[in-house]
Amino acid sequence: MEHLLAEWYDIRDLGNAVGHFLTWVDDRGGPSWLPYFVSGIIGVVAILLWAVLSQLGFVWIERRLIGRIQVRLGPNRVGPFGLLQPLADALKVLTKEMITPANVDRLLFWGAPAVVVMPALVVFAVLPFGEHMQLTDLSVGLLFVIAVGSVNSLIVFTAGWSSSNKYSLLGAMRTIAMLISYELIQVLALLAVAVYTNTMRMGGVVAWQDHYNVWLIFLQPLPVFAYALAGAVEINRTPTDIAEAESEIVAGYHTEYGGIRWGMFQVAEYIAGFAIAAIVATVYLGGWTLFGLEEWVPGWLIFLGKVYTYFFLFIWLRGTLPRLRIDQLMGFAWKYLLPLMLVNILVSGFEVLIWQEKDLSAGVVLPIFAIVNAGLTVAMMVGWARVMGHTGSIGEPRRAQLISDVGGVYYEPLPGGRA
């Protein structure tokens, strides 16, 4: 490790400082496992701190931004510009009573919020914040993030089931149904990435993008879209916040939770949101690299910039879009996205095959692939939508008919029994 390290004060990669500290620890003697242990602790504490601080920050940012979107001010009373609002919120949540309703399965009801943050946090273990700022570069990192996400669904289900509340139960069932569907989409999206980069290491994916100086979003436009949607499904953000649809099932699986237990779900949702944003930033947006700028600007700042920019999208969507119905969302996954993703993997495989067999130079083929894939994505999305019989809202009337006399009946049933 040492030969890669720059000086400890080189903050372009905080891994340098940690590495030097570890060598220092190692030089002092002591058992061989100590540096591993210490580095693990440092990594975990750093990720925890970062996650919690980002979350606090984004509570304020989200509320202000949504306020801005909704032509109002947002929190502006606690501290300058309402900056202390997240702390006030946190204090409120901490001091509220945690109600345990009668007839709940107590063990599971208490257990679920205790572990719900874990899967979201564990994802960060394989994500590189910088060249050396990665807890572990698992050789199956791409699959790991999906596997961990799938555990989340089970915890959410446990929470909903143990509440012995019908809204919670509906929310829990919805979560499970959606997550099973969209897990498939996630796998297919990241599989296409593995086909291209020939590795499942997160570090490897970033290195590949750095090496060819291209972000995978240009080569894989469809999977980015699919993964973004699947991510929104996983973290229950509009337009896919079906599992905790406020207007339908009150708060879904966490209807019965109050106080800090509810807070844990909220924290988990935020951190899972950061995790999705970080995965997209790493896999599709070049991670901590930015076309050579990482030589000058700390890579972790670039990475965080990308993560936050992507998270901003979530906020924007939340302020803008209504919610889909669950059968629409599931139908979209199975009937629409799944075939397209399969085609996409085939196409990616062919492209990689051509690239390798013909031994072409990357500078030539990658732009061609990018254009081909972009064109193909648009063609497939529009074409398949047409095949599925979707004409969009273009055919729908935009104005009611205007009648000047009373008494007439202008009723016509919708064509094709679209009820």
Partner: protein
């Protein structure tokens, strides 16, 4: 495998896995039993990591903890509350005896055999497994895919209403 980390991890995982497996067998409520089962699956995934089979570990979490247990939860949810117990039949004590004797036998065999062991772990398993699946084991691989398809069609047919 004699570094302290591995040893500590092994024992911790052993406690988690065996404890939750016992829990799955012992708790009265079926949903809790499934939750225990998930903990067991996660523990086994941990063992896979220890055995430098990280692809298996992830597949384990993805398929067992993520899919099979969800399937079980669904099956439990679709049956009424009265059917959600985890009780034994009269066969409890004989079953316990059989299980314990089998455990004894396997343990005795395992401990007395002189295994030709090596200390080497694997570096990158995913790509090697992938290559093996599509070269040496391509026939089983295809059979497995047909099996999955058949299972899928079969499951749909079985539960189809009238």
């Amino acid at each position: 495998m004699d570094d302290t980390g591995s040893v500590v991890a092994f024992w911790a995982l052993a406690v988690l896995t065996v404890g939750s497996a016992l829990g799955a067998a012992a708790v009265r409520d079926l949903v809790r039993s499934v939750v225990c089962l998930v903990a067991t699956f996660v523990g086994v995934a941990g063992f896979f990591v220890l055995l430098s089979a990280d692809f298996l570990a992830v597949a384990q979490v993805l398929i067992y903890a993520g899919a099979i247990s969800v399937l079980m939860v669904f099956a439990i949810m679709l049956t009424p509350r009265a059917e959600r117990n985890n009780a034994e039949t009269f066969f409890r004590w004989p079953a316990l005896a059989i299980a314990l004797s089998l455990l004894g036998t396997i343990a005795a065999v395992a401990l007395t055999t002189d295994w030709a062991t090596t200390g080497q772990g694997f570096e990158e398993t995913a790509s090697v497994i992938g290559n093996a699946l599509l070269s040496t084991y391509v026939l089983p691989f295809e059979i497995a895919s047909v099996l999955l398809l058949a299972a899928m069609v079969g499951a749909i047919l079985l539960v189809q209403e009238d």
